[in-house]
Subunit: 337 residues, 6 copies
């Protein structure tokens, strides 16, 4: 491992996130807090805070709101030279934060967004990936539109060709696929060139019809690697939701030869639950690039995920030191002066 | 049970609630958050969010503050055609929210309020109750003034006559009765025509001198029903205050033939403790009107009560789906997308 | 004990405390919440809220910010007639509040502050202490500058001479001493005239080279009292940081004849961790002045400390009634109406 | 004129209005203030504050945001029994408030909104208009979609048939018509059954090709009434924008026999410019229903318009007394105690 | 004039002032900004900011809100040792800030307040006034209750006896007198021992039936001094309210030998109109105590009054330097670095 | 002029700007709004919003506050690759915003800041300026420290050598120079290699002892160009401060052959006065790089300056279109939809 910072490229929609302040419900809100987020950009920003170079590729409307979204990415250290502009609507989601037995509620407004209207010819992946070490995508993107799915596939192919490592956080849900194709049709081609796949046993079963004989992650992961032999590691996490305010997290991985699991981290009270999976993915990328053992990498991913539960917004703003302190077992949260 | 939405009528004072933001103490506040609340209107609004029709009867000052209070009720789906206006002061309470071992503190300013000056002739209960299914009152109202007590009694009598079911959440405290009558004098006449009484063993003992032989709710409830034979069910709840931030709730009922109790619900951290009893009452009304068994109704009431602890303000803004999801055992608070 | 309120004098730097709202990180803040705090003034204010008279001696810049800091002290009931003004910078600290596994982070900016430039001739301690019952200082002050250390020593000597009781919360850290002297050089002279010392076994070991044979507080305290025979009581507390959001507190004291400990108080969730040690010191001063037994005083100190965790800002704003209610075992935080 | 309050019905899209606080630009906003507004609902609410009964007909998404929008209308005294729900997106506009030479900027997101997908069979206008005195529409609605245009035409025809007076604020812009029809095709049929038309000489020229010989409002208005003989009055206003912070307003009317103008009202500084035209329309409706002379009605409309410039949000919340005080010449804004 | 700071004593009710943020109307407010104010305390605080010693005498409820009000006075440099506590309600006023043609609206809630229940025996005026240079009262206080009027009269008599100069800002309105006495009965006795009276020609006419022959201030002032020969100066100001956002101020005085007027100061835009008369009174007191000529004193009063229009809240927080800079003709408001 | 965006480099301290919200005074603030600013970075950001490439060179502490300051620059489109980190304090200024006759007040805390401790060897100007078109500095920087002055001189020399155009906004004040050198000693060497100098007749007189015979800008400018013959244009502006809320601006230039002036722009009310001179400088840079005539460039500078008065914070966020619209005479501020 050389000493230059690694460079991560991500691709996907970035949405305006609008939330009532604190624990207000939609019916009570007279203002909405405004940040931006999206599964893949969340990963890129998290990587940047850990010290890596990171750029995100996306498409925004060509207006003041699209500019403001780009400024959010720049502020959080991303390179935005590959952001493109066109059409008129930015994707949005409205988030009402829950507590204890009251669930958070999310309302999406993504149809017809500038990102959903993206076309493959708009991005020159050879240029984008020319000095990258890693490319990361998620299962949300191919569900958005045919154009988005094709862009994602192009990126993976170029990355593979150039020797850029590829990770996919591939969980998706049938009801997200509205443009005429199903996830069962689209995902196999995307997954086959991935080095690292983050998913669950249910995801493997639903998307690929694999691992049906058992609920166990280890079994499903093995069957996925049998079907797609280029995959090197299948990674997941077990989340127990004691309540909206109390979560428990454990990382797990099948790397083709052994099945490893982290200790469970207990998070109470939760400050912001959104983006914790993306923090896990970013931690995994960092870990695999910087640690020698899969166990260390997985511990790093779990600690990053746990810490994101304490950060407001979609993105994990904690530093490398925050994460390593937790991986070394310091759960005390004692004041740093 | 027919399919038209049921209509609930409530009567009582609505106060301006002024609270320092978050966990600020009175000595720190430079602004006060403003909502409105009152035991009975809280019940009506909760019923409205559960899908019932609901109207609240009250009296406000004839000024911009009285109008704003009415607008709060309208916003939260109440019919306000029976709100009357006069005199010059709106009742108020100041709430400093506590945490852990620090108690919340409440300062009331209700003396001389427009509501306390209400007179029986100001309300035409025949008109108010003409298409109602349920009338609900609380033990706070008769403590406010002779006029308020008389209005309450009139309402109960008209309701009984018209076949409208009557529930009373009758807990009261001696020190609230300042106009010359005691709760021991006034409450019996109000309670005798109720179908459902929500109270505690202590309330039964202090108000009616009943159930003195035992601390048990079941015993006290039985003695109350013996003394007031029109009462069909006596309902209560056990609250354990582990700390201001951690509460435990269990519903209980004596329905004349059996004593039933719900499981205990564990709420931590508490977002807003005020109005949780009113949420219980509203849940009970909904439950008794929509479920076949008392156990289902009581479970619904307890779940509604538990959920209110997570909602800011006096009133329970959760939906029917929120409550039924919890009654079906889902305590995970997992995100709804 | 006579019935006039006791008067407490404290001396030390008061800093502007600037914190991102709620759980925002520095990278997210678009405004900073502004209060003022400092270990010794926190003690004085806490004493004032408990009903004692209290004055704080400090030095601020002679500008609008120095005036505003003084106004903060006045608002919180302190006498500020001995505040002096000069030079141009107010000490500051920036506080990012953590949660669960994420630590709070503090950035100090105290170098060159008006307080650090204080000179002994600026304060007439005979006048300041003329009607005082108690003088309190901390180990932070002598670390700031030679002038501050000398002022502190002068105060202790005058207090001793006048029969004013003296307490020192003496914990300090090597890295705070930047002006050429070490804590090992300076602290002994300051400690020798103290009646009450608040410290830890580690503090005793590092500052005085005492108690090295054992980690036990009792052993270290005894060795300290052997070395400085005017000390009457050595007091400490055990804090267990389960997480940034969950703390456990227990008071302990060696009074020359017996070693006493309070029950452990469990605080979850923590609202504001800063200043809890100062609340303990203030509680101890109140307790020793108003209770007959050390055990009662120590219980009072622990309860005050626990309650501070629920109050925003540096200073403990709870009332005497709040504390005594907790010392009497009421941990329920039930609403006070 | 009888003494019962008049009832006004309006129809049109209600949008979520999201604005950076105060004078922040989009690039600075970390939260957005949330209110709701739309040209026609603004008129209805304004009428309600003036003491009339008012109901608004619109269509919202069937989710928590559609409910919240309805609650906004209810809070501001509208009857919402004719609000219908379906589809998934609420129309939006983002407003950045300008000052002096800096223009306010508005970004609309209305394509595909629940309102734009409205169909004529969704509304029973006979029922909606059964006890109405007045129906008001604007030129924005027929520009949104074929369905919206058809609903609007249906409403006007039913209103005419039932003797309900009809006003249309018909100004529109070519670039708003995107669904295949032009305003020149659609507007004549809508205008022909109106009693009152609010427009400008430019609007008359662009929409109907009338009044081209002169820029004068009087000439254009006369030609419009010649072409559409059922129109009784053509009303407009002259606005001089000295700067974004300083506006001047004058009402004008051709009523078939005389051309009247109000005095010019000078507004500086402007608090919120949006919705001032709607306040004018509402004032005109009130004036024509409650005053004997057109001059009085026009003065009332101008005063209402001027006052709206001082109210935050889309809707004019001033009372009848506020307006009449200004029509009587009191421009002092002296405190009312 | 010696060099010790002068000491001013004031007496009157201090109210909680609750205002919607910025230009929100009552119907829009979800929080209320909280400060405290009252005509006489406003004068005292203003004097303190100008460098004088000042103490305010008032009565608050004996609860956390009364304490918080006292803390407000302390923060703003007042001595509060003569504040007394009792009963349960703090006087309040709700302020909706207007703009341009929209008037500010004020709703008072003072009936039954702790101050209104004050009794003469509660205050030892000999003690209060023992080292005072000036006593100031206003015409609001005797209107509140018989007890308040009597306290005010006692204070004036003791002040006169001790040689403390007395000023009264005596404007009052008939509708404020509700306890059985009229201002015509009460005011003469209060005024007769004043050295300085601040009033208007209308006030003189309505309260004393004097100066009826002319609207001119000079004439009315002269007749007042004829009737009450101990008065040395009668002072007033001309305010022109161009709009709620634009005010013009001119001071005027009859000192028994000459009639003097200041230049007119033009204030646009107004930030907060409330308390500007009190700032004038405070400026007058300062001016008369520190300047040789009445003209200088009157200029100082007018400048202080003008500056108050730019300060939020009831009280004038500007410094001596701010005022003298304006009296020296610098109206530029140029940045001070 | 080619079509690639021009690149501007600036160098100087960036301070944390802390201001009470709105018109609050320091004595009222409970929070401080946080942005960042500095004369030179303000110019760079303004250039970036106008469409140019811009990078700022500065030094921040190596902590979370230094990172946050960098993030502010990145968010506003600057390249921050030449920002360096070290030492521990960020420069600060506290800004209390005035209104009408009340001046804004600024308190600086810059002594000992990380920027003031900068050393020439920390910056490789050849690298920084390698693809630059313009370098801009101000007279504040050489006043800060010897190191800062030397860095500035190095930059100018390298720029001159590489053919990068250099502008200096050279106004300074004697009392800013505290490190042992005077502005009279230091400025000549810095100015002699500038192409464009922004200053005033007073600045020229005080710094260089030139133009003493006349107050006229034209005369002083000519004498400056005589003394420093490499200067091509001397530019200034006339500001009339009618009040803190009302400013008038006029640009002026002597270009060696003619003296030109713009029309006066009238700004009322002012939203934020700070940074308006920097907006003028940025406008001038843009104008000279993009327009053929000095008159057009000067008009552009004045319009940019005027618009900044309406933008909160230090930096001018308006777009090219905003400025050109004003230069074309549209002062209406009409809404852009």
């Amino acid at each position: 491992m050389n000493s230059l910072p690694k460079k991560v490229i991500t691709f996907g929609e970035v949405m305006m996130r609008l939330s009532p302040p604190g624990y207000e419900k939609f019916a009570q809100a007279n203002s909405l807090e405004l940040v931006y987020g999206g599964g893949e950009a969340n990963v890129a920003i998290s990587c940047a805070y850990l010290g890596m170079k990171a750029a995100h590729v996306t498409r925004f409307p060509d207006n003041a709101l699209g500019k403001a979204a780009t400024q959010f990415l720049r502020k959080h250290w991303l390179s935005t030279e590959h952001v493109i502009y066109g059409d008129t609507m930015i994707g949005k989601y409205f988030l009402e934060k829950g507590a204890v037995h009251r669930s958070s509620e999310v309302i999406y407004e993504r149809e017809g967004s500038s990102f959903s209207l993206i076309k493959p010819e708009m991005i020159d992946w050879e240029d984008v990936l020319k000095d990258a070490d890693w490319f990361h995508w998620t299962g949300i993107t191919p569900a958005i539109s045919e154009g988005a799915a094709q862009c994602c596939l192009d990126a993976i192919k170029v990355a593979k060709k150039r020797g850029v490592r590829v990770s996919g956080d591939i969980n998706s849900r049938d009801n997200m696929w509205k443009y005429g194709k199903t996830m069962q049709e689209v995902m196999p081609e995307l997954v086959q060139d991935c080095d690292i796949v983050i998913t669950s046993s249910r995801g493997i079963r639903e998307m690929f019809g694999l691992g049906q004989s058992s609920d166990k992650f280890r079994v499903a992961a093995k069957s996925l690697m049998d079907a797609f032999p280029k995959i090197e590691k299948v990674v997941g996490k077990t989340r127990k939701s004691v309540s909206a305010s109390h979560q428990q997290i454990q990382g797990k991985m099948w790397n083709g030869s052994e099945y490893i699991k982290t200790d469970t981290l207990n998070i109470t009270p939760v400050i912001d639950r959104v983006g914790t999976g993306d923090a896990f993915a970013a931690g995994l990328i960092y870990g695999l690039l910087h640690y020698k053992s899969d166990m260390e990498a997985l511990n790093f991913a779990s600690a990053a995920c746990a810490l994101k539960h304490t950060v407001l917004g979609d993105v994990n703003l904690v530093s490398l030191k925050n994460v390593t302190s937790l991986t070394q077992g310091d759960t005390s949260g004692a004041i740093k002066r």
